[in-house]
């Protein structure tokens, strides 16, 4: 196990490094940030000066190596736009994004698991049909449209909930529902199909032969087995949510990393974009790492060496 952890950490590092290379290259292909930083009447000398100041005049691989070297020293670069460290720009917005993502994730799981499990126990019942119809809708409605409709209904028409900004629970509801909708649907459908598979297994019959109650049969014997693929699916949803946060935060003016990222891309604020991607990849890789460890607790047959 220990060897696995070391090996795995090393792999994660390579993945993250790979991501930085790709993002770095793509960003530098999108154009020259000085276009946006200088006033339109600025001349070529001024431009060269700024390019030199920002280090953009060096060959791209040199820029990249310097970037990595600086990161190792905890320096993620200055935001071109705000003239403050890019890292603090991103970190300042991170709690808001984590709050939103966690809320959406918890909501998804809490809603999806019961729907999936009950649908699986009574396939083709009214409940199942209803649940799966909602799930299909949840997966087919585009996030921005759902967000706008929710705002229209609950903020504009009914006036029950605020539509913009971050505050208490009330502010969190609409963005979390919007962000979590797709994942709720996906997890519910996946839970249903995994549970249906598992409920057919011989060991479920054994549990019933022992005369165990239906609760124990379903929630202990079946669910623990079904939870393994469901966990895989859920961890993938985390990645989706990190990207979905960009749209959701923009719709609801949620002061999170997603919004910062969008602005930074418009402004060609390279250090901020790079830091956003780096932080997001570290979180995603970290979650996957954690999930792999959880597998070993759910399924004794999984052993890492």
């Amino acid at each position: 196990m220990q060897r696995y952890l070391i090996k795995r950490s090393f792999q994660s590092l390579i993945v993250i490094l790979g991501i930085t290379v790709i993002v770095f290259m793509i960003l530098h292909l999108t154009g020259d940030p000085t276009d946006l930083l200088l006033p339109p009447e600025a001349g070529p000398e001024e431009r060269e000066l700024l390019r030199h100041e920002l280090g953009l005049d060096k060959p791209i691989y040199v820029q990249y190596l310097e970037y990595i070297k600086n990161i190792c020293h905890g320096d993620f670069g200055q935001s071109f736009r705000y003239q403050t460290p890019a890292f603090s720009v991103v970190m300042g917005a991170l709690p808001a994004t984590i709050e939103l993502t966690m809320a959406a994730m918890i909501l998804s799981i809490v809603v999806a698991l019961p729907i999936g499990i009950i649908s699986a126990i009574r396939p083709r019942s009214y409940y199942d049909t209803l649940g799966m119809t909602f799930a299909l809708l949840g997966q087919s409605i585009p996030v921005y449209w759902a967000g706008l409709m929710l705002i229209l209904l609950f903020a504009v028409t009914l006036g029950w909930l605020p539509s913009t900004g971050r505050g208490g629970i009330k502010h969190l509801i609409l963005p979390a529902v919007t962000l979590g909708m797709f994942s709720t649907a996906a997890i519910a459908r996946f839970t249903r199909s995994s549970m249906i598979d598992v409920l057919d297994a011989d060991y479920i019959r054994t549990a019933r032969i022992k005369g165990l109650s239906e609760h124990i049969v379903v929630l202990k014997h079946a669910f623990k087995n079904a939870s393994i693929p469901v966990l895989t699916m859920t961890s993938l949803q985390f990645g989706r949510m990190l990207s979905g946060a960009v749209i959701t935060e923009t719709i609801f003016s949620w002061p999170g990393v997603g919004r910062i990222a969008v602005q930074a891309i418009y402004n060609r604020d390279f250090p901020v974009v790079q830091t956003v991607v780096l932080v997001a990849s570290v979180i995603f890789v970290g979650i996957n790492f954690m999930v792999d460890i959880i597998y070993t607790y759910l399924d004794p047959r999984i052993k890492y060496t």
């Binding site: 396939p123 083709r124 057919d200 297994a201 011989d202 060991y203 479920i204 019959r205 054994t206 549990a207 019933r208 032969i209 022992k210 005369g211 165990l212 109650s213 239906e214 124990i216 202990k220 014997h221 623990k224 087995n225 759910l298 399924d299 004794p300 047959r301």
Partner: protein, 326 residues
């Protein structure tokens, strides 16, 4: 209670599967009974309805396709067919237990063996903590699993097939059912292991006076183990007799075919006889005897009309138009 009491009486049991391609009459009119302490064997080719018969008794016929459409299953006079699934829980485990065909898949892979045996124990005795653990170890010892103190914590994948089947038997022991159904308990195991498992089941029977329904397609096992035998073909019980009559005085062509296909130790045989033809397709049964296409004795009537159940002696019943001539 007298030793001859019928603890299980199945009358005209019909269990059908309603599939997209038609109705499969997996069990079509099963009538038999089981006495206290008796070992009842059920033989027949695969697909003849042996497993479905046992699942029907436990009321665990695969849903939604399968359903008991007719008949009674009387356990000590109470009709199990009329019970709800919730009521059936009182019968499963402590009164009826079933060991199924495939030990590889019948234990839950994500819980320890100890945990799964513990559940069976707790059905009878509300033990906890160390008391429960002691009891589980005791159960494992009863089925001759070595190093049981550590094996309690093992998972099914760490057990061999034979050990898994022993673990299943230890669950049965923990439940102490009145009726133990063993559905081909040794089919998936090595020959040497088979003998050990059967021996273990005989021990259980003697020690606890458990009534046993043993399903197998191995007539050798039936000969050694059972008192009374049902021969099933295409969902119907075609012949039933005590074990001696079955081997020496059988009158049904299918039973005879099965017995003739047994290798005889010590006798010179050029080759084994087999029953010609294929088992019937349960979806396309005619009104006649389903064995007719494969039967050497068939006459015209056989393909039109199913023969009635007739008695050929004490406790010897069979369905064949021509049994008197056989």
């Amino acid at each position: 209670m007298s030793a001859n009491e019928k603890i299980l009486e199945v009358r005209n049991l019909k269990t059908y599967f309603f599939t997209n391609v038609g109705v499969v009459k997996a069990v079509d009119g099963g009538t038999f009974h089981l006495k206290k302490g008796q070992a009842l064997g059920i033989v027949g080719e695969s697909g003849s309805g042996k497993s479905v018969t046992s699942l029907s008794i436990l009321r665990l016929v695969p849903k939604p396709a399968g359903r008991i459409v007719e008949g009674e299953i009387l356990y000590r006079g109470e009709d199990l067919v009329k019970k709800s699934q919730k009521e059936m829980r009182e019968y499963r485990g402590n009164r009826l237990f079933m060991i199924s065909q495939d030990p590889m898949t019948s234990l839950n892979p994500v819980f320890t063996i100890g945990n799964q045996i513990g559940e069976a124990i707790r059905k009878r005795q509300k033990l906890n903590g160390n008391d429960l653990k002691e009891k589980i170890i005791e159960m494992l010892k009863l089925v001759h699993i070595r190093a049981s103190e550590t094996r309690v914590h093992a998972y099914p994948h760490q057990f061999s097939g034979g050990m898994k089947q022993r673990a299943m038997i230890s669950m049965a022991l923990a439940c102490q059912p009145e009726i133990l159904i063993a559905d081909e308990p040794t089919t998936a195991l090595d020959v040497t292991i088979q003998a050990q498992i059967l021996k273990l089941m005989m021990e259980v029977r003697e020690q606890y006076q458990t009534s046993i329904i043993l399903i197998t397609h191995d007539l050798g096992v039936i000969a050694r183990f059972c008192d009374y035998v049902l021969v099933m073909y295409a969902g119907k019980i075609v012949e039933r007799a005590d074990v001696k009559t079955l081997f020496k005085g059988n009158r049904h062509p299918y039973t005879r075919g099965l017995i003739n296909s047994l290798p005889h130790l010590g006798k010179k045989q050029r080759r084994l006889e087999t029953i010609k033809g294929q088992p019937p397709d349960l979806l396309n049964l005619t009104g006649g005897c389903p064995f007719e296409p494969r039967c050497d004795y068939s006459v015209e009537r056989c393909s039109v009309e199913y023969p009635p159940v007739e008695s050929a002696g004490k406790g010897h019943l069979l369905s064949c138009w021509r049994w008197r001539e056989i």
